[in-house]
């Protein structure tokens, strides 16, 4: 039965922030549409992909994904519609121009995408749904920026409105830093305003991927970030299911996700980012399209979300596609696809190109810098984290020397992991401040000198192979301090290092589990 042709627009060249995940989603879309009896036509210009294998689709056009070429193909092929939600920003940018040419955009409407992306319109929606967002504002001058910042209260996240993907985004702690930013880093004007958001310090960040058909919404998974808010979601290690969150918070997040999906009329995939602090849930961002976490979620829960979403796009309903899910009596609080007793952790970790760019400070921040990802799976959280670290090239040591140097605000939280490390047989090295603090809390450490003090200093010790793991949290402002040289030395000598307390805690658990249980392997088909 001939159902017509559908054009799927690919994701173009790989870049940081838009990688292989989107090619994965496009390939699944092609497969799903072929399964549904449509002729799937793929358009892409990236030779490194599976989507441009001539075996993948019914027709492949190796062409630039720009309006001119896409329209040429549409004229020649006369498809019933075009799919733009799987290839990241590349095809999404073309949604409105294509619609203006009378092209049928399948799935979630460009109008809904605009509501989600336009700050004003989205804010109205959030208020209407009685949900919560961090306070924010738009400044059109330097003076306005200062007024808004003071109203919201520091710290704040600032970024120019005209760049995408977290570029030039900065965490700002006081007026001095804000002025420095608007005077040196970016240009603020009437038509190039500055976006300001309250930064919820020490909050837990969550990602949610869901599929919706206009009637039903199924949450694929809630993912808990290992790193705190402030690290770009694409650069954070992520765990399915959440490992520190209460059940009722997860249920509430699922409910909020459903409300958003219905209100936006999502047909296909949707990604929502939340922050949770003191049991308060804040919506950070909504993207009614395939996100980079779709393959990770799909593999963690065993359901291909992109494929399910593609079937919705051509009119199928979730109740028909995954009827079994609707029969599931007791669901896991973090996912509509998993049974309540699900007990496997999947942890995603990312890799960075620090070794290619020797001048760069290898520090996590609001701008995405990772190029790829790995996943570690185990029933034990610690082992899943161990595997994720190993996959990313960082083998956690079983014993040896650990160097700890943390910012003042983090000091109270380092006591417990430090004690555990000592129990595991690690010898702790610390510079003055941390050394003193640990000693006051009954933890014996070895004092090691800073770069400005007598040698051998900490960097000498790293370079001599005397340090086997590093916990070093940054103290606010970025500068070429000791911490920078410590991080660079760690990268060069491939020593595992953690720049957040939550990351350090997970590492301690990983080492403990590894020492107690060792690793075992399991095939996807066997679980």
């Amino acid at each position: 039965m001939e159902k017509g042709k559908v054009i799927i627009l690919g994701s173009g060249p790989n870049r940081i922030g838009q990688g292989i995940e989107f090619d994965y989603a496009c390939v699944h879309c092609v497969w799903a549409l072929r399964e549904e009896g449509y002729k799937a036509i793929m358009v892409n210009c990236n030779p490194e992909t599976v989507s441009t294998d001539y075996d993948t689709s019914d027709k492949l056009f190796f062409e630039p994904i720009v309006l001119e070429h896409v329209l040429n193909i549409i004229e020649a092929e006369e498809p019933i519609g075009v799919v733009v939600q799987f290839g990241g920003q590349t095809p999404l940018k073309l949604a409105v121009p294509l619609q203006n040419y009378g092209v049928n955009i399948l799935g979630t409407s460009p109008e809904s995408i605009d509501i989600a992306e336009d700050r004003e319109r989205f804010r109205e929606l959030v208020i209407k749904l009685r949900l919560k967002q961090p306070e924010s504002g738009i400044a059109r001058s330097k003076e306005e920026a200062v007024i808004i910042a003071e109203r919201i209260g520091y710290p704040i996240l600032v970024r120019p409105s005209y760049v995408l993907g977290g570029r030039a985004m900065r965490l700002v702690h006081d007026t001095g830093e804000l002025l420095e930013y608007v005077e040196e880093a970016v240009y603020v004007s009437e038509d190039k305003p500055l976006l300001i958001d309250r930064f919820i310090e020490d909050a837990i960040e969550l990602d949610v991927d869901a599929v919706a058909d206009g009637e039903d919404v199924l949450v694929g998974a809630i993912m808990e970030h290992i790193e705190e808010v402030g690290v770009h979601s694409g650069d954070s290690a992520t765990c399915i299911p959440p490992y520190t969150l209460k059940d009722e918070i997860m249920e509430n997040i699922k409910e909020q996700t459903r409300k958003l999906a219905i209100a936006l009329g999502v047909k296909g995939l949707m990604n929502v980012q939340f922050a949770v602090k003191n049991d308060e849930i804040y919506i950070i961002e909504v993207n009614p399209r395939a996100s980079r976490t779709v393959p990770f979620v799909s593999k963690s829960i065993g359901y291909p979300l992109a494929k399910i979403a593609s079937k919705i796009i051509v009119g199928r309903k979730l109740k028909e596609i995954v009827p079994k899910i609707f029969e599931l009596k007791e669901k896991h609080p973090s996912s509509d696809f998993l049974p309540k007793d699900f007990n496997r952790f999947s942890i995603k970790e990312v890799v960075f190109p620090w070794n290619r760019f020797p001048e760069v400070d290898p520090l996590l921040g609001p701008e995405m810098k990772s190029t790829g990802e790995v996943m570690g799976v185990d029933e034990d959280f610690g082992l899943a984290f161990w595997k994720a670290q190993a996959g990313a090239g960082s083998i956690l040591p079983e014993s040896g020397n650990i160097f700890i140097s943390v910012a003042d605000k983090d000091k109270p939280f380092i006591v417990e992991p430090a004690k555990n490390l000592q129990k595991l047989g690690f010898k702790i090295y610390a510079t003055k401040g941390t050394y003193k603090f640990l000693k006051e809390h009954g933890i014996q450490a070895e004092l090691v000198s800073k770069l400005s003090e007598e040698r051998p200093n900490i960097v000498d010790r790293i370079r001599n192979g005397e340090i086997h793991i590093i916990i070093n949290t940054p103290s606010g402002r970025r500068e070429r301090s000791d911490a920078y040289f410590i991080r660079r030395a760690a990268v060069e000598h491939k020593i595992p290092y953690f720049t957040t307390i939550r990351g350090a805690k997970a590492a301690v658990e990983a080492i403990k589990s590894f020492k107690e249980k060792g690793i075992s392997v399991k095939a996807l088909q066997d679980s």
Binding site: P47, P64, L71
Partner: protein, 560 residues
């Protein structure tokens, strides 16, 4: 000869997370390989730590392990699954390194796992600098003169026969940091000293400089009966000194004479034979001295590579799939070409179009970094475009990049001559556009050649685009003729760029211009019927068909 029946279960290792230098091309090759082996009735056990890959989808292999790619974990998988063979050539350097480690630790022996696709000896010979050099000497091929030194005294001993300029590469530094070039004795002294200090093992490699030479790659496949095919030749527009991954490359090679091409063909087959690649694909890289035409062998990859993914897409010849089938005992003449169904895989692809690859960089994410292009790869992705001419191909590739660029003009007129000159001399992500700006200022092909060492043929093509651009800018949509507009489209000018030059809008150009036609990528230059629907657009001129009544009907030749 039929496929091997002494093996049933094959372990395939993926390439792990996407990093610079090892990207999604190995998902493409691994997925193809797994599918090909399953098609032949083998059980495929696959391991890769990267969940964002198609190959780790549960339907692709029989057993899929998303586990870290480290030797102890792979050993656990081998212990559990007991594969008969390991195919390590589809997962990039990661898979190859693991295979070597598993072999050297005796793990493959212990569990009786055979390595297929490439033997341990062949991998060693291709990857060990000294062994490779000896092998090339045996078959009489030249390589850049080089020596490893551990002291200043040793360095001064070898510099006499290496000569200047010489490249100094400290061993085991991160990403090749501390590398430099010396043009004279004084520089040599300071730079070697610095290099020795930078190297943790106090060792540097001194190598004859071939910077500025022309660079070529050959994608070769060989089967166990010693049949060889050249799948594709690739020429780097950017001369030696820039990593291939960071270079603009073109397929097929544009500036080789037929005689030279045949020489490279013979050389590359000789390299595979000598290294001992018995079944599979390899990539062999050559440098050519533009003065006297001498060829040097630079390196070879005894595995599927980024370039082979490009060659597969450029020709329609599925290298990874064929490599997997050769590894289990088939020969090239026994495998059929999916696209024509008529020709065997031993039939070398012929292409009647030009393919251009341009890398995509993300330096904006790392503002502190030096964005000069060197022998260390820095690009994060790439695009490929197909056109009937080089001009069309490169202009299509430019707009594929998604940098908001639709042609060779990006507003560089504000820079002074010195800046433009420097940006043409020093390789960088925007060099192509600076070269165009140079031509816009009336610089000659020879002048830009002497600054960039890019072959004059490519420069001339770029100049012709710029010249036409200037011709167009004298016109408006009202004054331009249909013929001129058609020529512009054939040269690859985008509607957006034409709108800028003719001072109108993209929509208006679209209304006015001719329609594009679509051509098939068929591996055989239309000699046989193609069954695979793989297309690219072009603005080929009209073809005529003689009717029975003697009249000619004109049509635009479209194959979709």
């Amino acid at each position: 000869m039929p496929k091997r029946t002494d093996i049933q279960r094959i372990l395939l290792i993926g390439s792990g997370p996407i990093v610079i230098g090892q990207a999604a091309e190995f998902d493409y090759s691994g997925t193809q390989g797994a599918k090909a082996l399953k098609e032949e009735g083998y059980e495929v056990v696959l391991v890769n730590s990267n969940p964002a890959t198609i190959m780790t989808d549960p339907e692709i292999a029989d057993k899929t392990y998303i586990e870290p790619l480290i030797t102890p974990v792979i050993e656990k998988i081998i212990e559990k699954e007991r594969p008969d063979a390991l195919l390590p050539t589809l997962g990039g350097q990661t898979a190859l390194n693991l295979a070597v480690d598993l072999y050297e630790k005796g793990i493959l022996d212990k569990y009786n796992v055979k390595m297929i696709g490439a033997s341990y000896e062949a991998i060693k010979k291709a990857e060990d600098r000294e062994l490779f050099k000896e092998a090339m000497e045996r078959i009489g091929l030249l390589m850049p003169k080089s020596a490893v030194v551990r002291s200043m005294a040793e360095a001064f001993e070898v510099i006499d026969w290496i000569g200047f300029p010489v490249i100094i590469r400290p061993s085991f530094t991160l990403g090749g940091t501390g590398g430099s070039i010396a043009y004279n004795q004084d520089e040599f002294h300071t730079k070697v000293k610095a290099g020795l200090e930078a190297s943790p093992i106090h060792e540097v490699l001194l190598e004859e400089s071939v910077i500025g030479w022309k660079e070529f790659e050959m994608e070769v496949m060989r089967d166990k009966n010693d049949n060889c095919v050249i799948v594709c030749s690739i020429e780097n527009l950017d001369p030696m000194g820039i990593h291939t991954g960071d270079s603009i490359t073109v397929a097929p090679a544009m500036t080789l004479t037929d005689r030279e091409y045949q020489i490279l063909r013979n050389y590359s087959i000789a390299v595979l034979r000598e290294i001992g690649i018995e079944t599979g694909g390899s990539n062999v890289q050559f440098a050519q001295n533009p003065e006297d035409g001498t060829f040097y062998v630079i390196e070879m990859n005894p595995r599927v590579s980024r370039s082979s993914a490009l060659a597969s897409k450029a020709t329609g010849f599925p290298i990874a799939k064929i490599a997997a089938k050769l590894a289990v005992g088939y020969t090239l003449d026994e495998l059929s070409n999916d696209i024509t169904k008529e020709t065997p895989a031993s039939f070398e692809p012929t292409i009647d179009y030009i393919v251009t690859k341009i890398p995509r960089f993300d330096f904006a994410k790392f503002p502190e970094t030096d964005s000069t292009l060197t022998t260390m790869m820095k690009s994060v992705g790439e695009v490929m475009a197909i056109g009937r001419t080089f001009k069309e191909s490169i202009q299509k590739a430019v707009r594929s990049l998604e940098l908001g660029r639709y042609g060779l003009y990006i507003g560089l007129e504000k820079y002074d001559e010195e800046t433009i000159r420097e940006k043409i001399i020093k390789p960088n992500a925007d060099r192509l556009w600076y070269i165009a700006e140079g031509f816009r200022r009336g610089w000659s092909v020879d002048e830009i050649h002497s600054l960039s060492h890019i072959d004059r043929w490519f420069l001339n093509e770029i100049k012709e685009i710029v010249d036409f651009e200037q011709k167009l800018s004298d016109k408006t949509l009202g004054t331009i003729s249909d013929e001129e507009l058609e020529i512009a489209k054939q040269m690859g000018f985008s509607d957006k760029e034409l709108a800028r030059l003719l001072k109108t809008t993209e929509d208006k150009i679209r209304e006015r211009r001719i329609k594009s036609s679509f051509k098939v990528v068929d591996t055989c230059a239309a000699e046989f019927e193609a069954y695979t629907p793989y297309y690219y657009s072009s603005y080929e001129s009209l073809s005529g068909r003689l009717s029975e009544d003697g009249s000619i009907t004109y049509f635009r030749d479209s194959e979709n």
